[in-house]
């Protein structure tokens, strides 16, 4: 992008303008360019990954010995609550919205999002609720400390009686996060439905776009339930109502329904785009078409549908009657079918491929390996009698970290490395990337694999202290956790130094097929501007020898000349 003769007024323009200069200031402004917003999201969430990781390391530091000796138990409870909240609402949701911003418009050939201002407003809510949440550390009595579930009546106990308390700020932050997510979801879904390039029917869309669409649909359906529950909780906490207070005739279990109706599908909001990343990357680095593209694409909506009817599997031991347990066991196990379709399709994609093991591919393979494991423990947890034993123990903690970190965060790292050259215009350093992968894979395995056994032996989750028989598993886990902390060093080093002075990236360093790879690196403000290509093939045509778009040479040439 050359910044020769531009009108200085365009610096103040509320929308992206072709020819606008590349400057660092745009990342700190109310910029409406989806690619700027994407990087804003990703940078913000990586910062909060460090915050959440630091909290996790204090938690693991406490748990390296059986007694509660590092911090007061009340402090421990606040730390693990904030760890979970930060990781979900300030790391994973925003970083995947960052990917959506970078990838959806470029992958479907749109100049920007459907509602650029709404998009920027959705992002700028993130620092707002981040400030609220971080501010709660300084609230009288400390931050919320009833777990990220915030189950009443525990969460309604307000020992100091202040109106402004940690729990109050926590609910406020979660509600704001929900508003931000709904604003994002409206935008992404509209963009995907309305702004695809000519010729790009639904069955010519990349799978990432399918999964983002399926995930954002969950946000639209599920978030109102959580927001409603949060508002009732806020009223119970601050205004004396009794929706969930048993002494006023309320039912604490009702909140669990509101909470899990959204918060179980929320896991699929996070994991679906990662399935999308796997589906994009395996074909590129195996040099093969995605096996069963249509099945994989459609399975995303199978997961969306099923994810909305499984929530009570979190409540098998709350006194739910047997008929209800059985229905939810069935629906939960059924999710193994569409996810199995995807896993087998990825294995089919790898089969007889020509594998190139660079950092993004290593993270994808590691993530897939871990996800297969997590899927199996997931079916175990759906089995009612097993769940009654291991539910609310470290088995669950181990299982969901295998999903949330060992699969989702692995996919996120794979995506960051894969699209880094495209959106920064620089290549990252492969050696540092591989060190990052090795430390992450070993650290994550040490951290969460042993905890399955602690859970099977009956160690409850959320404890600040435990009986000595669980010590061995916890020592290994803590070592793994500190290793993950160390793993962030090569990652940060790589990102910062590569972006600052990495080698210039060509438009298509991975020889990948996709509209985003027909753009210059980094893409100009309005992507294809007036020359939007006409899509003529299904994606992932590796080895098939037919072009993706009409007049492909023109776009390739143009991207190289930019």
């Amino acid at each position: 992008m050359t910044s020769t003769n531009y009108d200085p007024r365009i610096l103040k323009a509320p929308h992206p303008v072709p020819g606008a200069p590349d400057n660092w200031k745009r990342f700190f402004s109310f910029n409406t360019d989806a690619k700027v917003i994407g990087i804003q999201y990703i940078a913000t969430s990586l910062f909060f990954l460090l915050v959440g990781g630091l909290l996790a390391m204090i938690v693991r530091g406490e748990l390296i010995t059986p007694p509660a000796d590092l911090v007061d138990p009340s402090v421990y409870n606040g730390l693990y609550t904030m760890h979970g909240t930060v990781m979900l609402f300030l790391f994973l949701f925003p970083i995947l919205n960052g990917f959506n911003n970078l990838l959806i418009p470029t992958m479907i050939g749109a100049p920007d999002m459907a509602f650029p201002k709404l998009n920027a407003a959705a992002f700028w809510l993130v620092p707002v609720f981040a400030t609220v949440l971080m501010g709660s550390f300084f609230a009288p009595g400390g931050p919320a400390s009833s777990g990220w579930w915030s189950y009443p009546p525990m969460s309604l106990q307000n020992p100091l009686g202040h109106f402004i308390n940690g729990e109050f700020l926590w609910i406020l932050a979660v509600a704001l996060s929900g508003i931000s997510s709904i604003m994002g979801a409206v935008n992404f879904v509209t963009t995907i439905i309305r702004m695809r390039a000519p010729g790009m029917g639904f069955f010519k869309m990349p799978v990432y776009v399918w999964t983002a669409w399926a995930a954002q649909t969950i946000q639209l359906v599920g978030l109102p339930a959580l927001t409603g529950g949060a508002v009732m909780l806020l009223f119970d906490l601050s205004f004396g109502t009794s929706f969930f207070r048993p002494e006023g005739g309320g039912d604490p279990v009702l909140f669990q329904h509101f909470f899990w109706f959204y918060s179980h599908p929320a896991v699929y909001v996070l994991v679906l785009p990662v399935f999308g990343i796997f589906s994009e990357l395996f074909p590129v680095y195996a040099r093969k078409p995605l096996f069963g593209y249509r099945f994989v694409a459609l399975a995303s909506f199978g997961i969306t549908f099923l994810s909305l009817i499984v929530w009570a599997h979190h409540m098998f031991y709350t006194g739910t009657p047997n008929w209800m347990r059985h229905i939810f066991m069935f629906t939960t196990m059924l999710i193994a079918v569409p996810t199995g379709v995807k896993v087998f399709a990825w294995l089919g994609t790898l089969w007889q491929g020509n594998l190139r093991l660079n950092t993004p591919m290593l993270f994808c393979l590691g993530g897939l390996f871990n996800f297969i494991f997590a899927g199996i423990t997931g079916v175990m947890l759906a089995t009612v009698p097993i769940d009654i034993h291991v539910g609310n123990t470290y088995f669950v903690v181990a299982h969901f970290h295998y999903v949330i970190f060992n699969t989702i965060a692995f996919g996120v790292f794979a995506g960051i490395y894969h699209w880094f050259p495209k959106f920064t215009g620089r290549m990252y350093y492969e050696g540092l990337g591989k060190v990052h992968f090795a430390l992450t894979f070993i650290g994550a395995t040490l951290n969460w694999l042993p905890l399955h056994w602690a859970g099977l032996l009956g160690m409850p989750r959320r404890v600040a202290s435990y009986d000595p028989e669980f010590a061995i598993w916890n020592v290994i886990a803590s070592i793994g956790a500190f290793m993950l902390g160390v793993a962030s060093i090569p990652f940060i080093l790589n990102m910062v130094s590569s972006w600052a002075r990495g080698p210039q990236a060509p438009p298509n360093p991975w020889r990948a097929i996709g509209l985003e790879w027909l753009l210059p690196s980094p893409p100009p403000a309005e992507n294809f501007e007036d020359d939007i290509p006409t899509v003529i093939s299904e994606p992932y045509g590796y080895g098939l020898g037919h072009p993706l778009v009409e007049d492909e040479e023109f776009y390739v040439r143009r991207s190289q000349e930019a």
């Binding site: 940690g166 593209y293 069935f330 175990m380 034993h389």
Partner: protein, 311 residues
């Protein structure tokens, strides 16, 4: 890898390799299933064997799937890696509808089979009785129909922030739960503050305790010993201290304990959060806010938490 086979005939080499791999995988799956029994505490209730058997079954099936899938990954990593300057494409296979239908149907049938089998097992466990709501402050114990199939009980289990109290039909109060072996016991689970959970890992049983509801719950201990009872639903600052022991003993010992304990005067029972709360106060009440622990329950037998537990 790409063995050239005649077009109209089975590829003997491939079939052989796949058969050997499947056979090895089956052996590993069986070994994993057998090994999985050692991952649990001892089986101390009539439910435990069912849970462990189900878990072993799923460990076996799961291991077969896990090692099958990761075996494929290992194979391609060994044999399908591109050379350093190899920029060629892989085999341009776009899919295989027959295969895709097979790998949709097989998991579908498998999970249906597991779920149906589990339903069957779950019907046999029959631990959970009716749940009645009551107004906090009124006496919940007047409400509940007792489990007619139980030999012992109802014993009231009262969970608090952060202590346990057990009230026997004879009026005996204890901080530890004494139960006779091989008799079905009916419990009534009560909480007056927040959610708690009655969890005995050796029994493989867990039931949340919900304030404002009284829950009838029955179980049969099958092994003598001293087992940990842990609160498994997060209940605030000293949640992790909220543990006590279940003592399963012979019927004579149990009867003897009941008689002897009835003669004991009431005194403060186990109050495991208290020492930490006192430590906190002595250090100037530093830390983040917490409600104070509920007063120690007044019991005939305060128990002895220093005795070693079996699981």
């Amino acid at each position: 890898m790409t063995t050239t086979a005649p077009k109209n005939g089975p590829n003997i080499g491939a079939i052989l390799i796949i058969s050997i791999a499947v056979a090895i995988n089956l052996v590993i799956a069986k070994l994993m299933a057998t090994w999985s029994y050692s991952w649990f505490p001892p089986q101390a209730s009539s439910a435990a064997a069912y849970v462990d058997d189900l878990f072993a079954l799923e460990t076996g099936i799961g291991s077969f799937i896990f090692f099958g899938c990761t075996g494929v990954m290992g194979w391609v990593l060994l044999f399908n890696r591109a050379g350093k300057y190899d920029e060629s494409d892989g085999a341009p296979i776009e899919g295989n509808t027959k295969l895709e239908i097979i790998w949709t149907i097989i998991p579908l049938v498998t999970v249906f089979a597991i779920a149906a089998y589990t339903m069957n097992v779950n019907m046999k466990l029959q631990t959970l009785g009716p749940k009645h709501k009551y107004a906090i402050g009124s006496d919940p114990t007047t409400l509940v129909s007792v489990d007619p199939s139980a030999d012992i009980g109802p014993i009231d289990v009262i969970a608090r922030q952060w202590s346990w109290e057990f009230v026997y039909p004879s009026g005996v109060r204890s901080s530890e739960l004494h139960l006779p072996i091989d008799q079905r016991v009916n419990l009534r689970l009560i909480s007056e503050d927040v959610l708690h959970s009655f969890y005995v890992p050796a029994f493989r049983l867990k039931q949340d305790i919900i304030p404002g509801s009284i829950i009838s719950y029955s179980l049969t201990p099958t092994k003598e010993g001293r087992f940990r009872l842990r609160d498994a639903m997060f209940s605030g600052a000293y949640f992790s201290q909220n543990q006590t022991d279940v003592i399963v003993e012979s019927e004579q010992t149990y009867d003897g304990w009941l008689k002897a304990t009835a003669k004991q005067p009431l005194r403060p029972g186990l109050d495991p959060g208290r020492p930490l709360y006192d430590r906190r106060l002595s250090r100037g009440d530093k830390g983040w806010a917490t409600v104070p622990p509920a007063p120690a329950p007044m019991v005939n037998d305060p128990g002895d938490p220093s005795l070693p537990h079996d699981a």
